[in-house]
Symmetry: C2
Subunit: 397 residues, 2 copies
């Protein structure tokens, strides 16, 4: 049995490259950017009017002139016009190019317009006021977005701005999610008394959807020859197998020996944690195998704790650790890392973690009241109110 830290270390050394593909920019939210986005022109690309009003030659104002005959209008989206007479003005709209021969914009609020003459009602005007100067935000060629980040709505706007209608993103791993266990029936079926419905594979499908990974699922009965045959095929066809169940000490927990016989190199089996202890991990040259214990909470916590960081490291995304503050004392004596379900709340910028009472790793419904697991290390048995520990969050505020 190895520690949680060792298990994570081994997994993070076993990352994989999935390659790069192009996608329409508007479909890319949540995907991992795999190209550097640079400014295709200066931003703003011209001296941009940032208030509706009039544009003047500042020198005229400086000389004491306050009334300006309106010579023309410069709407947004029109080619630049020129102020012909430096004692006149041009009406300008937000987003317009600043007219040639002008260098200050006075907003409508500070102007009175009558009979084609604009009178400036304020005494302070600065050169270049209400003008967003060409190249002030970014210069052409400057990097706007570094690669290897998770794309959000903010990036979508930048892609559009620089004309990237398709962008390069990390290809997603091809993943098969596998359940075993003869007690499992389909969601649509009515179980006999000794049966339960398949649920872990769907929790995993949803957890992968959060990473924008589409996965497939399959169920295999606890029959070793069938397991051998199907898993051999899956190892060949997929980048990752996520399994749930059949890794403990039971007579029909065939997975570890099946993997061994199929040449999957075992990296570890059993991690000093609760829940999720019988976790088995191994790999072939082309496929990583995460075989999680079959209890619902075990499967879920191990996916968050091990698969997520493995995926992020594989696609080279740096994630930040998040912690939270216990609101109750917790005593946990076993020499195991304890992943405790907590409800999160925010108080004065502090993230508070309130333990949820579950009935152990089988009680999936207790997750409904939780937002995260808090990771209590195995070098202590008492965890005090006010102490902070890492969390694995599966729900936002």
């Amino acid at each position: 049995m190895i520690s949680v830290e060792e298990a994570k270390h081994i997994i993070l050394k076993a990352t994989q490259e999935f390659g790069v593909e192009e996608t329409p920019f508007i479909k890319s939210v949540g995907r991992i950017l795999k190209e550097t986005i640079v400014a295709d022109r200066d931003f703003p690309p011209f001296n941009r009017v940032s208030m509706d009003g009039i544009a003047i030659d500042f020198i005229a104002f400086q000389k004491g002139q306050r009334a300006f005959t309106i010579e023309g209008i410069q709407p947004a989206g029109s080619a630049q016009i020129s102020l012909q007479n430096s004692e006149n003005c041009i009406e300008v709209m937000t987003g317009a190019v600043l007219p040639k021969n002008t260098n200050a914009v006075i907003r409508y609020e500070d102007v009175e317009i009558k009979n084609g003459v604009a009178r400036i009602m304020i005494n302070e005007v600065f050169e270049f006021q209400n003008i967003h100067e060409k190249g002030k935000d970014r210069k052409v060629g400057e990097t706007l977005i570094e690669k290897n980040i998770i794309i959000s709505a903010a990036e979508i706007g930048v892609f559009a701005t620089v004309g990237k209608s398709t962008i390069k993103v990390a290809k997603q791993p091809k993943i098969m999610i596998l359940s075993t266990g003869d007690e499992l029936v389909a969601v649509n079926d009515k179980p006999e008394e000794h049966q339960i419905r398949r649920s872990n594979v769907f929790t995993l499908v949803a957890a992968l959807e959060h990473l924008k990974i589409e996965s497939e699922t399959s169920h295999i009965t606890d029959d070793k020859p069938i397991l051998m045959q199907k898993i051999a095929q899956f190892l060949n066809d997929y980048d990752v197998l996520l399994c749930s169940g059949a890794v403990s000490k039971g007579k029909f927990d065939f997975l570890p020996e099946v993997f061994d016989e199929l040449g999957v190199k075992k990296r570890f089996h059993r991690v000093a944690q609760r829940p999720g202890k019988p976790f088995w991990m191994g790999e072939t040259n082309t496929c990583k195998v995460f075989a999680f214990p079959g209890n619902p909470i075990s499967t879920f916590v191990n996916c968050l704790m091990y698969f997520y960081p493995w995926y992020y490291k594989s696609v080279r995304v740096k994630t930040k650790e998040e912690t939270a503050i216990l609101t109750e004392d917790i005593i946990f004596k076993p020499n195991l890392t304890y992943f405790l379900q907590v409800k999160l709340s925010d108080k004065f910028g502090h993230t508070l973690a309130t333990p949820i009472k579950g009935n152990g790793s089988g009680d999936l419904a207790s997750l409904i009241n939780a937002d995260a697991f808090i990771q209590l290390p195995n070098d202590k048995t008492e965890f005090k109110t006010g102490e902070n520990y890492p969390i694995l969050r599966f729900r936002n505020f």
Copy 2:
């Protein structure tokens, strides 16, 4: 001009019902649950073995017996068998029904098996140990999930467990996202010097995707008759119009008068905030209109600040406010609520907000380095390091 608080109050009074629809459970992550999920049977549905090992009649152990002849095996997924002789034992697997006439499970780690006899190697055994008792987690008919919550991977597992292959979720509003502004060209086009590409509508599409809302987009040139005709149609066909631009004081900012002439009741125009001040909001009997200012940051912050809470209240989801702690002093003198871009980090369970320098509301690229906006109220001008304020987060850790 009204305050941010008044604007939000007015918007939250103008919520809408979108109705309910059925969806396959596996497609429901991020949607809003609209039915109560109850236990279709006890959980666990039977006395469930929770460790691989042997099941015995506890009385035999109590009487001092340590060696038990193995009478049979009870795998997971098989109908319940019975212990015939109370001095024997049955091998049992995790997830199996506890055999009849047994009431304690001793795990394999604590047993030695030779020639069909299991010898218990420990001296402490408790009645019902390693048995997850029928109905312990939940009783049949008990509520597992209340309605009006955002569905996560945790709920997906519960839906599967209780056999809900389709579930009732809130219908999504039908939304048209509209850009105006003759300076805008398509993402694929190469803009002339005085033009820029459309980007705000795509930021909004992505922001709605975060709510699992599919939206449509349209662009209309700054031509009043065309605006009248198209918007009349949109008001008729959609639940919500999100607009970007043409709400300020410019000569071609036709939207407020177009809405007025089309009978849209104005609720407010201009909110005391930066960025995003010229925000216009109104409604017909069937359509809400959020007309955001055309600057990229203004559009984005107003979508997060006003549209998100409006949507959540409309579908009856309770969201929690999140706050963060300033890491720098900020001075902001205008009598406006200030939405400042910040980078978030976590330290000892505290959410820290570090201001990002942007060049005003036009600098979309500055959002790339930010994770959220922090909302600094307009009743102060100095905001000190260590103070906490609400945040609008658009990126997770």
